[in-house]
C-alpha cells in the first residue's frame, strides 16, 4: 500500500507555482467581471426577457391605436396585453425567488440543494412563460407586416391561420425545448455533485421526487399554454 504521507509532505512543502501570479490590476478587473454562475445567468436571461416583453407590450399598444377599429379588436388587444402583463408578473415573482447565495456562509451541500430546489420549483415553471415571448414576437411582427403592407389585417382563410399557427407553435416549442435542455444540463451536473456527496441518502433520493414533480408540472403548464394559444388563435381568426 502506498504511503500518502510522502505526497502530503510534498504538497505542503512545495509552493503552488502553477500559473502566473495575478497583478493588482488583474484582480481588480476580475472583481468586476460578469459571473457565469447558473443562477446569475438565469437572472440576466429573465431580466432581458422582461424588457423584451415590455417592448412587445408597447408595440402591441401602438398597433392597437393605429389599426382601423372593428368591434372585436379591443378584446383581442386586451387579451394580448393581459397575457404579456401576466407573464411579466410571473417573471418578476420568479426573479424575487432566485436565491442570493453566499458561498462563504453556506455549506457546499446547502448551496447545491438550494440551487436545485429553485430550478425545480420556479425555473421550469417560468420557461413556458419566457418561451411565450418568441411566440408573441412572431405574432406582433406578423401583424405589423400586415399593417405596413395592407394598412389593416386582410381577410384570411384557414390556410393563412394554419401558417400563423405553425409559426407560433414552432417558436414556442423550440424556445421551450432549448431552455429545458439547457436547464436540465446544468441541473444534472449539480445533482451529480449531491450524489457524490450523499450516496443513497435522503437528499439524493429526494432529487428523484423533485424531478418527477417538475416533469408533471412542466407538462401541465405546457398543455395549459397550448390550449390558451389555440383559443388565442381562434380569437384572431374571428377578427380577420
Amino acid at each position: 500500500m502506498i504511503d500518502l504521507e510522502k505526497y502530503k509532505t510534498a504538497w505542503q512543502l512545495e509552493s503552488p507555482p502553477t500559473g502566473r501570479p495575478l497583478t493588482d490590476r488583474e484582480i481588480h478587473a476580475l472583481m468586476r467581471a460578469t459571473s457565469k454562475h447558473i443562477l446569475v445567468r438565469f437572472r440576466r436571461g429573465l431580466v432581458f426577457d422582461l424588457i423584451f416583453k415590455a417592448v412587445l407590450l408597447v408595440l402591441a399598444v401602438v398597433l392597437a391605436f393605429r389599426m382601423p377599429f372593428t368591434p372585436g379588436r379591443p378584446a383581442f388587444y386586451l387579451i394580448a396585453a393581459a397575457l404579456l402583463i401576466g407573464g411579466m408578473g410571473w417573471q418578476l415573482r420568479t426573479l424575487r425567488r432566485i436565491p442570493r447565495q453566499d458561498p462563504g456562509a453556506l455549506s457546499t451541500l446547502d448551496l447545491l440543494l438550494q440551487c436545485i430546489a429553485f430550478y425545480y420549483r420556479y425555473y421550469y415553471r417560468v420557461i413556458p412563460v419566457m418561451a411565450g415571448s418568441g411566440a408573441f414576437f412572431f405574432l406582433i411582427g406578423s401583424l405589423y407586416y400586415l399593417y405596413f403592407k395592407y394598412g389593416d389585417i386582410p381577410p384570411a382563410g384557414w390556410d393563412d391561420l394554419l401558417v400563423l399557427g405553425i409559426g407560433l407553435a414552432l417558436s414556442f416549442v423550440l424556445s421551450t425545448v432549448a431552455q429545458v435542455w439547457q436547464g436540465s444540463f446544468h441541473i444534472r451536473q449539480l445533482e451529480e455533485r449531491v450524489r457524490e456527496m450523499e450516496e443513497h441518502s435522503l437528499s439524493a433520493r429526494s432529487l428523484e421526487t423533485q424531478r418527477t414533480q417538475m416533469i408533471r408540472n412542466t407538462v401541465l403548464t405546457g398543455i395549459a399554454l397550448i390550449i390558451g394559444l389555440l383559443l388565442f388563435l381562434y380569437l384572431i381568426y374571428q377578427q380577420m
Binding site: P16, D24, P103, M197, E198
Partner: protein, 165 residues
C-alpha cells in the same frame, strides 16, 4: 490603483497574499487553461461579493478555501457537456502541472484528477491539514461521514498512484 476604496485595496492585498489557494484549486478542478481562467475569475468574483459578510471569525485563508471550493464544486459550464466523463480519465494531460513540481507532487495532482469533485475537495482539505470538523462544516457533511469517506478516498488515491507508477 486610483479610485480604489480602502476595502478594495485590503481585499486585493489579501488575495495577492493567498493566491496559492487559487492556483491549487485551479489545478485540481480545471481541465484546461481556459477552464482555469474561468474558474479563477468566478472564485475572485464570489470572494469579492461575499467579502462584506466576512467577519474575521475564521482565518482569511480558511474562509477563502470555503468560498473557492464551494464555487468550484457548484460551477457548471456549458461546454463541459462532452468532457465530464471522457476527460476525467485523461485530465492529467492538462491540469496545469508544470515541470517545476517534484515527481511526487505531479503524480499526486494526476491521481487527484481521477477523483470526483467532492472527493477532490475532501482530499484537498486533508492535504491542507484542515480538521475534520472544518471539512464537515465546509461541505455540509457530518464529521463521522468525513472520517469514513476520507479513509475510502485515501485508499482510492493510493490505488490510483500505485497503478500510475
Amino acid at each position: 490603483m486610483p479610485g480604489e476604496s480602502a476595502i478594495e485595496q485590503e481585499f486585493i492585498a489579501r488575495i495577492r497574499q493567498h493566491q496559492g489557494i487559487l492556483h491549487k484549486i485551479g489545478a485540481v478542478y480545471a481541465h484546461s487553461a481556459a477552464d482555469r481562467e474561468d474558474l479563477q475569475q468566478e472564485i475572485i468574483l464570489q470572494l469579492w461579493k461575499s467579502y462584506p459578510a466576512f467577519r474575521g471569525k475564521s482565518a482569511f485563508s480558511t474562509w477563502m478555501y470555503r468560498v473557492a471550493l464551494n464555487t468550484a464544486i457548484t460551477f457548471t459550464r456549458k461546454a463541459a457537456f462532452f468532457r465530464e466523463h471522457t476527460e476525467r480519465l485523461s485530465a492529467a494531460a492538462d491540469v496545469g502541472i508544470t515541470t517545476e513540481y517534484s515527481e511526487d507532487l505531479k503524480l499526486l495532482y494526476l491521481a487527484i484528477a481521477r477523483l470526483n469533485k467532492v472527493e477532490r475537495a475532501i482530499i484537498l482539505l486533508w492535504l491542507e491539514e484542515k480538521p475534520y470538523q472544518e471539512i464537515a462544516d465546509t461541505l455540509g457533511m457530518t464529521e463521522k461521514n468525513v472520517s469514513v469517506r476520507l479513509v475510502r478516498i485515501k485508499a482510492k488515491l493510493a490505488a490510483i498512484i500505485e497503478t500510475m507508477q
